[in-house]
């Protein structure tokens, strides 16, 4: 075994003020394996990786590469030791070219042969089947391609250990497939890959071994064959999980009254974000969803409903009355709330406290001259932190220091506080652990049973099938189908997404 081991971490401890993030964690990576690192949000996966890559210093423990102990104080040192990382959020420079992004920070000479750099980059991109040109500006690529460029960059440095921290969360299935092909190639070359993800399917598709963490502690290392899914989930959560069963039946469906106008109704709505005019309606207490591949226009559709992009045309009625929604504030005044897809860019206000982040939307609705008093603000913030069990040191903590799932809960709290009639959730569960996912799904059904209308968007089809009673299928910026009742099953939805269903 010793020959095979490329990376060994022993008894790693790391504390932050007030929190013990890692307590005696071991991690072993062998040559040519894909090793999943699993755990809920706040289990310590990210911290472990940051210790490994030198972003954080460890308090205790040792790291060795191929048997020799190494000290890693910075990401540069990690790279020199052959450890490369691709993070969940893209950490490239959008206004540089693709090639520049691939070579930035590792140009040895002052003199740089740009021509050679570009042709080298093109070769790598081609060999990895990445649809980008070396001289193209990175920001002109789609989010998924940017992610792949980041991987290409990591792969090109002569790496022994490749860490992929949720690389697939913004990729669609075909792109994930390409990434997996790439991972298998690298595996064959003997690279050890650490794969952090929340998608169980992907773990079972590509990984050889799983290390599970919980609350900063090691739960154990398992061969993939010996650990069935249900056991993996229960190990991550530390409890037997029956929550994953059918949850829709637990909540009564809201009973619509005869002749009640839809809560929201749109005709020929279109925006400058590249979606064709579409019709849409949602009844009181209904949960529906937009589905489709990445870039099919599902997010753009709900953004148009909320007035987040520039509206080009269409008629909108709220509770049967015609209204004009040009800006988000118009939609908010009509009782519409929107939890955006890109949490970091559109959701959180990073430096502000959890409290201010919860209050923001409601404060804007109250108006410029009616600030919450300190006492009111504290009371509301504490109430919602408790309601959604947000894990935060205090309401004063800047939201950016929370884990992704907790940030999402804060944004959810922000919109629940406005007591919307119609709540739009765009990928509310992306990058969130299984437990919180189920919490959010249950919350959606509970709210709907109390009469709130919800539109729920998710890349995970089974999640949508479990929560939605009606699915709207998008393809290439166009609405191509609507499924409900009996038609709500994997096959039917897949077929509709793929096309050829609608005559």
């Amino acid at each position: 075994m010793a020959d095979n081991v490329v990376l060994q971490m022993r008894n790693i401890h790391k504390s932050f003020p007030g929190v013990k993030a890692l307590q005696g964690v071991d991690f072993t990576l062998r040559k040519g394996e894909v090793h999943a690192l699993m755990g809920e949000n706040g289990a310590g996966k990210s911290t472990l990786i940051k210790v490994l890559t030198g972003v954080y210093g460890k308090d205790e423990g040792q790291i060795s590469m191929e048997g020799k102990e190494v000290l890693i104080h910075s990401p540069q040192e990690a790279q020199k030791n052959g450890i490369s990382t691709v993070y969940q959020e893209i950490t490239l420079c959008p206004n540089l070219s693709v090639a520049e992004n691939m070579y930035i920070g590792r140009l040895d000479d002052i003199y740089q042969n740009w021509k050679k750099m570009n042709s080298d980059a093109d070769k790598i991109l081609q060999s990895l089947d990445i649809p980008a040109k070396a001289t193209q500006q990175l920001s002109s690529c789609s989010l998924a391609v940017q992610q792949m460029v980041a991987i290409a960059r990591a792969v090109d440095t002569d790496c022994k250990v490749l860490i992929l921290d949720e690389p697939t969360s913004s990729l669609d299935e075909q792109e994930v497939e390409k990434l997996f092909k790439l991972m298998r190639d690298l595996k064959a070359r003997g690279v050890g890959i650490v794969f952090v993800t929340h998608f169980l399917d992907q773990v079972y598709e590509i990984c050889d071994r799983i290390t599970v963490m919980r609350d900063g502690k090691l739960v154990g290392e398992f061969e993939i064959e010996t650990l069935p899914r249900v056991q993996l989930v229960s190990k991550m959560l530390g409890k037997e999980l029956d929550d994953l069963s059918d949850i829709q039946g637990e909540y009564s469906t809201y009973q619509n009254k005869e002749g009640e106008a839809p809560v929201f109704e749109a005709e020929g709505l279109s925006s400058d974000a590249g979606i064709r005019p579409f019709d849409f309606h949602i009844r009181k207490g209904e949960v529906n969803g937009f589905t489709g591949l990445l870039g099919s226009g599902r997010s753009e559709s709900v953004r148009a409903i909320f007035g987040a992009d520039r509206i080009l045309g269409g008629n909108v009625k709220v509770n049967g009355k015609p209204v004009k929604i040009k800006k988000p504030i118009d939609a908010m005044k009509q009782g519409i709330a929107y939890l955006p897809e890109d949490r970091k860019r559109d959701g959180i206000v990073g430096d502000l406290s959890v409290r201010d982040n919860i209050l923001l939307a409601q404060q804007v609705l109250r108006g410029f001259l009616k600030p919450f008093t300190k006492a009111e603000a504290d009371k509301i913030a504490d109430e919602y932190i408790k309601l959604l069990s947000v894990k935060t040191a205090s309401a004063d903590t800047p939201i950016k220091s929370l884990s992704g799932g907790n940030q999402q809960k804060v944004i959810l709290a922000r919109w629940l506080l406005t007591h919307p009639e119609y709540l739009i959730l765009d990928e509310p569960t992306r990058g969130i652990d299984v437990g919180t996912k189920v919490d959010i799904q249950k919350l959606v059904l509970k709210l709907a049973s109390e009469g709130m209308s919800v539109t729920f968007i998710s890349s995970e089809l089974d999640e949508m099938l479990r929560t939605c009673s009606r699915l709207i299928v998008m393809r290439d910026g166009r609405m191509v189908g609507e499924l409900s009742g009996e038609d709500l099953n994997q096959n039917k939805v897949m077929n509709t997404i793929a096309g050829g269903e609608r005559e």
Binding site: G18, Y338, G347, V364, P371, R414
Partner: protein, 360 residues
């Protein structure tokens, strides 16, 4: 997660250094102690009588109170602009020249040596405010609508402002002999404390009320930290950025009044020269990130008086006025580096560690 409850006493020093007010206040004390050691005369305040026979206080501290107040007023507006746009307005000095010029034009008309003022000072001041706010809005539109970097956008007015100021009065230099006009930048008869200090207090109270009874702070910070998010929460980032420039315009008009009143005339090329740099420094010294976002108004205002204290100290040691900026730069580098977040983090790491680690 356990909350980090600082134990009393042991963490006092650490908490103190982490406070944003620590650097400006410490710098002020340091300067005062330095003066105390070098020459206690710095602290001497005498009660004199001016040429008209009214009592006036004089001394270095009074000078700081007097000139520092102008800076403090500007720092208020500059803090908001910095927070909302992540950039600074460098046209403040030029805009003060324009404000002063408009004020004189209103009071004097085309007569450069008027016996009586054409209109009450208050009316002229209100007109000046409107003009200054319009120029502020001009900067704001360039920054918010056309998305030009603030320093570049305001470079336009920085370059053109003093010419515009001269043009408003046909390049004449009006002089006002009416003594009551001098009250705003000097002394009100019977009150020995310089008027600018009272004006600054009024401005500080106004902004404090605005921050307490409106959501200006939350909106400005939200826009400064994450514009996209602010927009999706129903805010209008364009409006809020322009608003911050308009408020700075108002501050400029007030300082314009003080400046012109102080000299009873105007010198277009010299008035309020380089004052924008001092105002920006006041914001930075207050520990506010010049890249925008969260801000601390009190720290900026104290920062303004610290900058003035530094200037006055240097004058007192007979540093030649053209060498002054060089000396100032050295001190300012030290102060700004000390108040930079990265250094403060290191500094607080040197302080006694919070005990929470063992508790958790």
């Amino acid at each position: 997660m356990t909350q980090n409850k600082p134990a009393k006493g042991t963490n006092f020093l650490a908490n103190l250094t982490r406070n944003q007010l620590f650097i400006p206040v410490a710098a002020l004390l340091l300067l005062l102690v330095f003066n105390l050691i070098m020459d206690p005369n710095f602290f001497k305040i005498t009660l004199d009588h001016n040429s008209v026979g009214d009592p006036v206080l004089s001394g270095f501290l009074i000078t700081i109170l007097d000139s520092g107040s102008e800076l403090a007023i500007l720092a208020i507006g500059m803090t908001l602009v910095t927070a909302a746009t992540g950039g600074q307005d460098i046209s403040v000095g030029a805009a003060i020249a324009i404000s002063g010029s408009v004020l004189l034009r209103m009071l004097c008309g085309s007569n450069t040596r008027p016996e009586t003022l054409l209109m009450p000072v208050l009316v002229a001041f209100v007109i000046t405010c409107v003009v200054a706010m319009l120029f502020g809005a001009f900067n704001g539109v360039l920054v918010a609508v056309f998305q030009i970097q603030p320093m570049i956008a305001t470079l336009i007015l920085y370059t053109a402002g003093r010419s515009i100021a001269a043009w408003i009065n046909n390049n004449e230099l009006p002089i006002i002999s009416e003594p009551s006009f001098g009250y705003y930048g000097g002394f009100i008869p019977g009150i020995p404390v310089p008027t600018p200090f009272f004006i600054a207090i009024i401005c500080v109270i106004l902004i404090a009320l605005a921050l307490k009874f409106t959501t200006l702070r939350l909106y400005t910070q939200a826009v400064g930290i994450n514009e996209y998010s602010a927009k999706l929460n129903g805010l209008n980032p364009v409006f809020i950025k322009i608003l911050s420039f308009v408020i700075l315009g108002l501050c400029v008009a007030v300082v314009g009044l003080i400046k012109v009143s102080r000299f009873q005339t105007i010198n277009y090329s010299v008035i309020a020269k380089d004052i924008e740099m001092d105002a920006i420094l006041a914001v930075a010294l207050g520990g506010n990130a010049l890249s925008g976002g969260k801000f601390n108004m009190t720290a900026s205002i104290i920062g303004a008086y610290v900058i003035q204290c530094l200037t006055t100290t240097l004058y007192k040691f007979n540093v030649q006025s053209d060498a002054l900026p060089a000396y100032k730069a050295i001190v300012v580098i030290a102060l700004v580096v000390l108040s930079a977040p990265i250094v403060r983090e290191k500094l607080s790491a040197l302080m006694p560690k919070p005990v929470a680690k063992e508790v958790a």
